[in-house]
Symmetry: C2
Subunit: 348 residues, 2 copies
């Protein structure tokens, strides 16, 4: 028996990780969630060359050999789609109906963008860095054809752990996950980690691409665009992997298991409630201090001696004082869901 | 891109068909839903021999060669798990949280049980026929170990289309779907179609196995067992395959697609509403009269010129006058869901 990706759509391909059944530290490629805005791109002949241009002192074109010979970093990063758990918003919101598996963890090796920028230099006018993917297509809401592109402010772009990755789990990046180059932006939702990098452009203004200014914005109102704010740092979050929702259990000892992660620092604690939130206990954490961007596995031994229905909850806190809320922050496009996780079970 | 089974649990293995992405007449084995009560059985050495015993004139042991040389029937049958769509009941019920993919369609070839019974004869005391699978294990609610077993009343057991199947889609039955022999009971929910048939026993009383008397009963009350009735004939039903729930569509023409089936006779019509049930139109049916137990594919061309939110519904009727209800019949174990299908979409 093995789990499979859960299919949300095929054109474009959107499939989520069967997260309840994932154990261990890395999500291997067959079970790493796939999120696409368009059909997969056809890579051009020159796809191994990566230009950096725009408001730089010296535009450069990097080859695969160039990058592979430079100082590299290897980071294990939990990547979460900003729309993960969108299906749980109430009122419901439109878009891909992700449950809780649009999150996976891989080990990425690449060259810090900051290092490449030391080779190109920057103009004093430089303000943002735009990352363009090879993927393009139509949108439902606009006329025309658009490339997938996103920008980062200079400070985040030049963070020493923002890397141009060329390896995933020790091998060249699989095509569906961005071969040959994928930007990896730890701590931000995964829309920032642009796949199939085609070119990098330093600009002197705020990037206006639709995946920056229309999508990946929190819209607090159902019908108005006012008050929108950009989606950036990943919220503190946890999920319950076991038991499964509405599972029937026998009396005895059950190991509750789950994952927790945050985009600001590290997970400090995960609390578990088996009383629907009346009382909370600390879960045991498996937390690699060597990998600051990785998720934390949590577990809790639950002895249950009485029949009945139980509401199990998990609540993560990070070292920045952030804690999962009772209710998610509702927003029209359904981003950033991080309410306390809950699973109901029946003991017979 | 290809769809995968959606994993509900691994031990036992329960995975549902990605039904929105299934086209065509047969569900091939990799995408045929898997529903198990226990871990997969280890087949004994004599698994190719099938005994029929009990209240018969002449107990017989049939070999694979025996069966393969007998008159056979080939039937295309939509098999639906009685718990399909359990996740949609409100109030929610416990058990495997099937969405709408615990249904698949295969072509089964086998020998009518009625033919085998002509060779064994029946005692006048014969009342039911019990079908025992090779699979066994523990239950959450009872002490001890149980085989999976189910009975049929004589009239259904001896129906000319109740077959002992030895082929699925033109090949030996895949192990996970009951190799070497699977009982196929058209028109009944799939719990009746016992996999890995070990033996067939004619009895003179009502079978009392837990999968007959505890499970697969409609319990109308949340806490009381009174009023329970057995799950048998498949309800009239339809699903919407396209568009997907909460999909965002552009203005123009969209093909709505789905499936419909019934356990009593045949599908007469499928009506579609794009107005949340205010008005209904007839869908176009692809209905093979040659295969009375198969599902019907339906489609409807929808031209939408105005932005907004739309509630799309489908409602099937069969020739027995049965029609999908507005609300499902709630029952504690969550069987037989067949409310009118609904998908909400947003047109931008």
């Amino acid at each position: 028996m093995r789990p499979y990706l859960t299919t949300r759509s095929l054109i474009p391909e959107n499939q989520e990780t069967p997260i309840s059944f994932i154990r261990g530290w890395q999500t291997e490629e067959p079970l790493f969630y796939r999120r696409n805005h368009f059909q997969y791109p056809r890579l051009p002949e020159d796809h191994l060359f990566l230009p950096i241009l725009g408001h730089v002192q010296q535009p450069r074109m990097f080859s695969y050999q160039d990058l592979a010979s430079m100082p590299s970093k290897t980071l294990t990063v939990a990547l979460e789609c900003a729309g993960n758990q969108r299906s749980k918003f109430d009122p419901r919101v439109y878009g891909e109906q992700w449950e809780n598996g649009a999150v996976s963890q891989g080990t990425w090796r690449g060259v810090p963008l900051a290092y490449l920028i030391t080779l190109t230099g920057l103009h004093s006018t430089a303000k943002e860095v735009v990352f363009e993917g090879q993927d393009f297509g139509k949108r439902e809401d606009l006329e025309g054809v658009f490339y997938y592109g996103r920008s980062l402010p200079l400070t985040k772009a030049l963070h020493p752990d923002t890397i141009i990755a060329y390896e995933f789990n020790g091998k060249p990046i699989p095509f569906k996950h961005g071969y040959p180059y994928r930007l990896i932006v730890p701590q931000w939702y995964a829309m920032a980690s642009v796949k199939w990098l085609k070119r990098i452009k330093v600009i002197d203004h705020e990037y206006q691409g639709p995946f920056q200014t229309i999508d990946y914005q929190y819209y607090p109102y159902p019908d108005l665009d006012k008050g929108k704010t950009p989606v950036t740092v990943t919220n503190v979050n946890s999920i319950i992997q076991q038991p499964l929702p509405f599972q029937i259990l026998d009396q005895g000892i059950h190991q509750l298991e789950g994952l927790a992660w945050t985009g600001l620092g590290r997970i400090k604690e995960v609390e578990v409630s088996v009383t629907g939130g009346e009382s909370w206990e600390k879960a045991t954490l498996v937390n690699s201090t060597a990998q600051p961007y990785a998720w934390t596995q949590w577990s809790y031994l639950w002895e249950v001696k009485e029949k009945g229905e139980y509401r199990i909850k998990s609540r993560a806190k990070d070292y920045n004082g952030r804690v999962q809320p009772e209710k998610p922050f509702w927003n029209r496009k359904g981003y950033g869901y991080n309410a306390i996780a809950e699973v109901k079970v029946k003991v017979v």
